[in-house]
Symmetry: C2
Amino acid sequence: MDTANRMTDARKKLQIEGNFPMQRGSLQDPVIAYETWGSLNSTKNNAVLLFTGLSPSAHAASSTIDPSTGWWEDVIGPDKPIDTNEYFVICVNSLGSCFGSTGPASVNPSTGTRYGLDFPVLCLEDIAQAGQLVVKDFSIKKLHSVVGASMGGMTALAFCLMYPDLTKNLLSISSAARSLPFSIALRSLQREMVRSDSAWKFGDYNPNNPPAEGMRLARKLGMISYRSAEEWTIRFGRERTTDTEGDEHASPFGIDFEIESYLQAHALKFTGTFDANCYLYLSRAMDLFDAADHGGSLQSAFARTKLSRALVIGVRTDFLFPPIQQEELANALKECGVDTEFQLLESLQGHDSFLVDMDRFRPAISKFFL
Amino acid sequence: MDTANRMTDARKKLQIEGNFPMQRGSLQDPVIAYETWGSLNSTKNNAVLLFTGLSPSAHAASSTIDPSTGWWEDVIGPDKPIDTNEYFVICVNSLGSCFGSTGPASVNPSTGTRYGLDFPVLCLEDIAQAGQLVVKDFSIKKLHSVVGASMGGMTALAFCLMYPDLTKNLLSISSAARSLPFSIALRSLQREMVRSDSAWKFGDYNPNNPPAEGMRLARKLGMISYRSAEEWTIRFGRERTTDTEGDEHASPFGIDFEIESYLQAHALKFTGTFDANCYLYLSRAMDLFDAADHGGSLQSAFARTKLSRALVIGVRTDFLFPPIQQEELANALKECGVDTEFQLLESLQGHDSFLVDMDRFRPAISKFFL
């Protein structure tokens, strides 16, 4: 499977020479894919580093080189909340992902075959470290901001903890300082759905015959955890559907309600665009993350950062990264003397709101970059 | 598979002679299993009819005939909240279940083979109707109360709507007047996990080789939706486990956290005790239920009941049958003139609280039966 053919690949690549040490292993000569928007100014103090959630590529916004719509198109660009007339934005495809950066779907140069489960256990700290090498490659001494939503927010936090001198400001969106058992349970079950698909073959599947059924089920559970009951009650209610696409089993347990058709459509779209092993590694990396590992407690960890300003945005209807975890993060930052603002938005779309409720997110983000 | 051998079977059976009409089909000569506690008084006005959630049998409490602990042992018995010194309690094993009542795992008398997917689409109204035949068999003209939690609460509601003259009072616990898309999505995905197991064979599995893997995954999602994030944060936090029982796939994606071990233990316990097709039918029946089908709107439906008193109990941390649905039900009953009390309990254990947080549930239920 050449993932580059299936979704826009990042247009720039950093080839790391030699050994790349990870938290629990190492890689030889990995590649880090990224995209940039805007221009780095002469004092190199206008750079914004963006880490992504689990599934997006580095293509956060369109550009002249790649005019296709990015996953955060409304946020990054000229005169947009992160205004590329002013800022130089770098978005990194996570190490372990499959959109240009080295991951389990990549060929291991020392064996000539795909890593699969030979890829070392992945931690968000490894993704942060790979991002730091991109920053270093630009000879940037201090970033204006590190930004991330969901898994990307956790990675941004790891970055601030690992490279305190590199970062002035933090924008954390719908993220958390650590994974708690409820979200671990959901992700663990998603991974089990993939692993239970006989096509997974303990990670050694044929790229042309991936565990598509397991990925489809896992994506449905993902969608359930990414949105909110409130949104769906308003949007779908108890409406019935006539669209039963891809529903092999049909009656009496097939697609009947609109909500079932919606989940099916989203799941089918995802399956085939994301490598199953990459998904497993990134999902597990989220479970493993705990900012307190960087200092014994959140407070003593955050005391190591040299952040000047932080904005923590959360969403009331997000039950995957719930408001209580946003507050915990904001409070820990405040207690360490960081000038921290906490905004709890009333978006109905749950965890995914940062991708869809732009009317609420645009002004919140704009204010931070003024 | 003889389910009777695997879990306590109800000790009494009502053999229905001839055709049993259902909402969407019919059955020949079905059996309804039930248990009773206490004695029916001479005026036959002390009977309480209890409908169960999706998975329990009719064995709600121990008795001299069957001294094993029932699923609501703390609630039913002498000097307990539903005091069997005073009340005659009947608990019915749901039609479509596999603990004595006729369901998809039963042998179809007209073919001599198991019903499987030839079982008609099941509605909660059919379960209510079967319960009504048991009540009729005792020549009870009016029940003191109909009681149910979760699916059982919906069935109790269906009963009140279908047989308004039979019921004086309603106790609804962690239930709802209809299924909304969030809970439909969760159950739909659970069913899909079972159907995706190749051992399911479109419902035609060998009882000795059931879709155990699909049932195990479905049960894990069930457990996730039955408890609460708050409970798990307090109970498990980020504790690691050494217990990896039944974890075939193990490292690097195996059981690592306590919460994963907990889910695995519960799922393994469930698999093998419940027939997969029965599970699918009962799960779907919940999705299909909407009290408004009995009158165009909730209000006009409830106007048909002749209830005198109702108690609606919900739990703050229940996101499967959330507080907003408890309020909706209580308000609709009030608007129809039923003397309705609504109690929102602070239990941490989410939807399952009625099975475990007895310190909060005992007094609430006791008060209703004083």
